[in-house]
């Protein structure tokens, strides 16, 4: 049976005579037809500055005062950088089952290593090359079957060649510094992987958390102000290559930088997708499902886990760098190493759907752009929402719902007892208690009644409290309460929607398809029996 896509391709490519051309046309058509949603999304992203410009009647290029299009370009670029971070986290946690609580380390490393190499340390080619040699040796140590002596010889040759061939002076360029940042993140992945990945997953989570926190404290402390700039962080306004300088120099380069960001995002997305569909990625998913079994089959699960972790670390490093480029002050701050940038990607992956490709993208873009959009909104407790409820009424409804939902187990037991009691009493008189339908109707009725009752009581008490409280007239900023909102969203998703938005959506459709298939199988089954007999 051919799918609709295959049929369409087949029908339209038959006319082409030349087999090579036909093959090309077929694969191109398949690419477009199977990925039309992604392609559409990329086109929208690419045109995004112009779309916003048209909608808001502003300029794409920065002019003073900065227009909406320019503002949203930066916001979108920053959101894309965070999306790449979330995707890398999802690759690690969602697809390989490795829980890392120190992902911020890689994110922050992007900015810090690049800048330390560039402006503070003034590293020469020679020093940079030495670090690369060390990195290559580390990789070989892990992924090849060489013994210590062979490794030492290779390292020695590398060092000698570097010293002989590389000029001793001259500083590294921007791109070379980025290369060093990538090497650094690979080294960190390898070291922490080797130390902990052989142990139970929980050790890895603890180790990475401790590691990232340590670097955060080091970056923040005043002791190394010369190197890290302490709380002020490191900046690099002048170091970025002319062609990619997104600072408002009022030339065309800003838009180029935006396009570069989109390209980076697309490459990361395709790379992750490609990786997951490769044999290595398949093994990775097998490890997530059952590591013991994967090991029994003969896969070196440790190798695959370290490989994935390195891959995710490199992506996070690059997105960290991208994030700094788009930061308003063009500086990397210690905050980039803080828990925030571990929690955020974790949260976004969870909300979007852990272990899905598009989930982190949707969640990150939605949440970060949503935050920007609502940033300047204010409200008071009496602000009306949707014309029905006010904010405090909504809060009361949510709290009652949350309480009900958190303690539904004990409440359910109590309810069932009440239902049983009522059922026993009504069993003689009422007719509907004889069937199971009556039972469910009763339970549903009671549930509804209890919820309504709780809501009513909650509204009355809530209104009393709200009226008596002093802060009723206070004006709140949406951005102040955003983190709290995220926290509540996080808890709700973890508890109620473990597959996130995309995962739940996929499961729903998959279940529907299975039901349809079952139904059609049931319909066709009797026929088959008849024909057989």
């Amino acid at each position: 049976m051919m799918s609709m896509i295959e049929r369409t391709i087949y029908a339209n490519t038959q006319k082409i005579k030349d087999p090579t051309l036909r093959g090309l046309a077929e694969s191109a058509a398949r690419l477009v037809l199977e990925n039309w949603a992604y392609l559409l999304f990329v086109i929208v992203l690419w045109r995004f500055p112009y779309i916003v410009a048209d909608l808001t009647d502003t300029e794409v290029q920065p002019r003073r005062p900065t227009g909406d299009s320019v503002f949203w370009q930066s916001e979108m670029a920053r959101a894309l950088a965070l999306t790449c971070l979330a995707m890398s986290y999802n690759l690690l946690f969602g697809f390989s089952g490795v829980i890392s609580f120190g992902h911020a380390l890689f994110f922050g490393a992007g900015g810090y290593v690049t800048f330390i190499v560039l402006n503070e340390y003034d590293a020469s080619y020679q020093q940079g090359a030495l670090i690369v040699v060390i990195g290559i040796t580390l990789i070989l140590a892990l992924f090849s079957r060489m013994n210590v002596r062979q490794l030492l010889i290779i390292a020695l040759i590398g060092v000698l060649l570097t010293l002989l061939l590389m000029p001793g002076e001259g500083t590294l360029s921007f791109y070379q510094a980025i290369g060093l940042a990538v090497v650094a993140s690979i080294a960190v992945s390898l070291i922490s992987g080797v130390v902990t990945l052989r142990l139970r997953g929980i050790y890895f989570a603890m180790f990475t958390l401790a590691l990232a926190e340590m670097f955060w404290v080091l970056a923040k402390s005043g002791t190394f102000r010369d190197i890290t700039g302490a709380e002020d962080g490191l900046g690099f306004r002048d170091i970025l290559p002319e062609s990619f300088n997104p600072t408002p120099t009022f030339d065309g380069s800003r838009l180029d930088m935006y396009r570069l960001t989109v390209v980076f995002f697309v490459i990361v997305f395709i790379a992750i997708r490609r990786y997951l569909n490769s044999p290595v990625g398949r093994v990775m998913i097998a490890i997530r499902e059952n590591e013991e079994r994967a090991r029994t089959i003969g896969y070196n699960t440790f190798y695959y886990k370290v490989l994935t972790m390195t891959f995710a670390g490199v992506i996070a490093t690059l997105s960290g760098l991208l994030f700094v480029i788009w930061a308003t002050d063009k500086r990397v701050h210690p905050e980039a190493l803080s828990l925030k940038y571990t929690v955020d990607p974790l949260l976004n992956s969870l909300i979007g759907g852990i272990g899905t490709l598009t989930g982190p993208v949707i969640a990150t873009l939605g949440l970060s752009l949503g935050e920007t959009y609502l940033r300047n909104e204010t409200f008071t407790l009496d602000t009306g929402l949707f014309g029905i409820l006010t904010v405090w009424q909504l809060a009361v409804v949510l709290v009652v719902g949350l309480v009900w939902w958190l303690f539904r187990r004990p409440l359910q037991t109590g309810l069932r007892r009440v239902v049983d009691m009522v059922r026993r009493d009504t069993a003689r008189a009422a007719t509907f208690a004889s069937g199971t339908h009556g039972h469910w109707a009763l339970i549903l009725g009671y549930y509804g009644l209890v919820v309504l009752l709780l809501l009513a009581v909650g509204l009355v008490i809530g209104s009393e409290i709200a009226h008596n409280l002093e802060f009723k007239g206070d004006v709140y900023n949406v951005s102040d309460l955003w983190e709290l909102f995220l926290g509540i969203l996080f808890v709700v998703v973890v508890m109620a929607l473990p597959h996130g938005i995309v995962g739940t959506w996929n499961t729903f459709w998959a279940n529907r398809r299975v039901r349809r298939l079952e139904q059609s199988a049931q319909q066709s089954a009797p026929k088959g029996n008849n024909s057989a007999s």
Partner: protein, 332 residues
């Protein structure tokens, strides 16, 4: 005590040897490097820190042992305990001693109730999804930290005067110290012994230790294990809160201290062996001493006390490489 040493397994006996040798080495290094008085002061600071870390780590270890949940919110419990304690301590209108006791009671009760709600409402439904339990406690830690910041503001709170009956100084190793520091050590030791007695002498303690090994079997014996789970979670949270309140007159209250102590506690249970009570107690002191000595060393030689942060991590890496199940943990 003697029977304890007589019944030690060879692995644990070796671990004891290692610990004693390591502590002796630390003390020797600090004596040679800093001289008698400074070394003494450093050791005292280390023990003090160890006691505080123990209050977070023992809860972490107990909860992990019985519930198999690594509670990353343990640091947040310490933080909330400290801030609530600070609030009560500064806002009440009474003598310092009364205020201090009120702060302890209110902070511990508040965090205990919070822990009970968290365990019954959030963690209990997730026992069949352990990965999400870890993620949940980790996320909750961030949420709770954010709530504290929102409610009490981002500025650190200054250390408060210790309660009246401890507001005197004594001299130790040529340094004038508040009795309050002795009180923290006393409190830590009391907790150590108290929890030890609870685990070994009471029926609940026996149930907890049995549940650490096989909670399903305990349930099949007719014991409501889930209730015990909640109790242990509350106990762990309360211990952390107590540590937080004890910190207030000593260091004040900052938003960072929750994670700071969580990291230390994590290192402690990795070194001591996850779920092992004696391991947690011993490792607490080891980590406290290491931290204090490293701080003093880096201060004297590099003028950079931050470097002490790395010593803890190095210790953890070494233990993970040498003895992955921790010094007093069970071999897996």
């Amino acid at each position: 005590m003697l029977t304890y040493f007589a019944n030690l397994s060879p692995q644990h006996r070796r671990s004891w040897g290692l610990v004693v040798a390591y502590v002796a080495l630390l003390l020797a290094v600090s004596y040679v490097d800093f001289g008698y008085n400074t070394a003494g002061q450093t050791a005292f600071r280390g023990i003090l820190l160890g006691m505080l870390v123990f209050m977070v780590a023992s809860g972490l270890s107990l909860i992990f042992g019985l519930l198999d949940v690594l509670n990353f919110a343990q640091g947040a419990f310490l933080l909330i305990g400290a801030y609530v304690g600070y609030d009560v301590y500064t806002s009440l209108d009474a003598g310092t001693t009364v205020r201090f006791l009120a702060a302890i009671v209110s902070g511990v009760v508040f965090v205990g109730v919070l822990g009970a709600i968290m365990e019954t409402g959030l963690i209990r439904p997730l026992y069949d999804r352990p990965v999400f339990q870890i993620v949940l406690t980790f996320g909750l830690a961030a949420v709770l930290l954010d709530l504290v910041e929102r409610y009490y503001g981002p500025d650190p709170k200054q250390p408060l005067d210790p309660p009246g009956f401890l507001d005197n100084n004594f001299t130790l190793f040529d340094q004038s110290l508040s009795y309050y520091r002795l009180f923290i050590i006393f409190l830590g030791l009391t907790m150590m012994v108290g929890v030890f007695l609870l685990l070994n002498r009471t029926r609940i303690g026996i149930i907890i230790r049995a549940g650490v090994q096989d909670s399903e079997m305990v349930q099949a014996l007719g014991i409501n294990v889930r209730l015990i789970f909640t109790l242990v979670f509350v106990l762990g949270a309360a211990l952390a809160a107590l540590g937080g309140i004890a910190l207030v007159p000593y260091q004040g209250a900052t938003l960072e201290m929750g994670n700071q102590f969580l990291i230390l506690a994590i290192v402690v249970i990795v070194i001591g062996g996850m779920g092992s009570y004696e391991g947690t107690a011993i490792a607490s002191i080891v980590v406290g001493l290491t931290r204090a000595v490293a701080e003093q060393l880096s201060l004297e030689h590099f003028d950079a006390p931050v470097l002490a942060e790395t010593s803890i991590l190095l210790l953890m890496i070494v233990v993970l490489l040498v003895q992955p199940s921790g010094l007093f943990g069970r071999e897996e």
